[in-house]
């Protein structure tokens, strides 16, 4: 990475509508590529003329393409969400820590995602599937508000059909025709028979969801350093200069977003942070 503050031009080459407010865009470099992203890392994405926000990588192409899944919540995320093929976006990165799924090799892998939290975890599942024999059990628990609000629905269905992956989709509010699980992600999580010393868990979603899920795992005797979460704070520079993303002793853009629950727990329970 040479000039970390200088956005590199990427062109949107594909766009998939995921839900009523989320879309996945695929981008290719225009003349220069950024270094390869790792699962869990994020990019600072600049919608020209609107602004720049941190967005996790949701797919890492071998051909240098980047995939990002964006929920429209405000001006910048809306511009990125709406970007059609041909649109040029300024991208900086890769920034931050990684889930490092390869570090969980030999263990059971438990992935718990809520809402758009599935986006940063998708590369973990894809890399686990690409090296499936490296892991024992691989479990994916994904929660959404309603059945229409799952990201990557076709892919989730394909994962569910595999017999080397345990997938449980659960919704807070069922809709007509939904015959899957109804309940918060903590419920299927609590039903897992875990081998606490041989399991690594990755949690991503709203902070309370990660806290509640981590508590279930701690109750099942999992050591907190085997539980990894992804933190979200608003960011400006992305490279540990401006202090915008400070969370207690951490600069989330550098020390996170992925941290162990040992690190996160004391920070996630302090209301003023």
């Amino acid at each position: 990475m040479t000039e970390p503050m200088l956005p590199v031009g990427y062109r949107v080459i594909d766009r998939t509508v995921e839900t009523h407010d989320s879309a996945t865009i695929q981008l290719e470099p225009i003349d220069r590529s950024l270094d390869r992203f790792r699962p869990g890392q994020f990019a600072m994405m600049y919608a020209y003329g609107v602004g720049e926000v941190p967005i996790s990588i949701s797919g890492i192409g071998d051909d240098g393409t980047l995939t990002h899944t964006i929920r429209s919540v405000g001006a910048v995320s809306r511009a990125l969400h709406d970007a059609r093929p041909g649109t040029v976006i300024g991208v900086r990165g890769p920034f931050g820590t990684t889930w490092a799924p390869e570090g969980a090799a030999g263990n059971d892998l438990v992935v718990v995602a809520g809402g758009v939290g599935l986006a940063p975890l998708r590369p973990v599942v894809l890399s686990a599937l690409a090296a499936r024999s490296a892991y024992s059990r691989v479990v994916v628990i994904a929660g959404a508000r309603t059945p229409d609000e799952f990201l990557f629905r076709a892919e989730l269905d394909a994962w569910t059909a595999r017999d080397d992956l345990d997938v449980e989709l659960t919704v807070d509010q069922p809709a007509a025709g939904w015959d899957g699980t109804v309940g918060f992600v903590t419920e299927p999580l609590a039903r897992l028979r875990l081998d606490p010393e041989r399991t690594v868990a990755f949690l991503c979603g709203p902070e309370p969801m990660m806290r509640f899920s981590a508590r279930v795992l701690l109750r099942a005797q999992m050591p907190s350093d085997r539980i990894h979460v992804s933190l979200e704070r608003s960011m400006k520079c992305g490279i540990a200069l401006c202090g915008h993303c400070q969370l207690g002793p951490l600069l989330v853009c550098r020390d996170g977003p992925v941290v162990t629950y040992t690190v996160a727990e004391p920070l996630l329970t302090v209301p003023e942070l």
Binding site: A144, D172, T181, G183, E187, R193, P206, M209
Partner: protein, 145 residues
């Protein structure tokens, strides 16, 4: 809750007494285990499969409130008057369960208050877990409005 959870802290004799008050049952997809408002005479430890708890909403039929799965304990209305089910329950796919006879459980608990206390504690833990997850759903965490 796993069966290990249900039997936690019990002596071998107490476990046997509980098992004597139970039998194994299989349900086919769509079978109804009980109906809302019906007399609550049993509780279930789900061994395999899924059970949907539901209630009837005019115009919408049976609406699912929550699903339970393997290891979950189903039904605590048998413990508290008026001993009526608050919701209905339906098997989703085939379900294998251990069914406990509530009348026999109550006799056991009356005869042996220690056992009664442990069982009540286990049930309370289940109720608390359900309450917490219901609260989490009430937060509507994934919405952005």
């Amino acid at each position: 809750m796993t069966s290990a959870g249900l039997f936690d802290g019990l002596t071998a004799t107490e476990r046997e007494a509980l098992l004597r008050a139970s039998h194994e049952e299989f349900y086919e997809d769509g079978d109804r285990l009980f109906e809302e408002g019906g007399h609550a005479g049993y509780c279930w430890l789900i061994r395999n499969g899924r059970v949907a708890l539901d209630t009837t909403v005019p115009g919408r039929g049976h609406v699912v409130i929550q699903t339970l799965g393997a290891g979950d304990l189903l039904g605590w209305s048998w413990l508290i008057p008026p001993y009526r089910w608050h919701f209905g329950a339906r098997a989703v796919g085939t379900v294998e369960a251990t069914v406990f006879d509530a009348a026999q459980l109550k006799v056991l608990a009356d005869q042996d208050p220690r056992l009664g206390y442990l069982l009540t504690q286990q049930l309370l833990a289940v109720v608390l877990d359900r309450l917490q997850s219901t609260r989490a759903r009430l937060l509507d965490l994934y919405s952005h409005d």
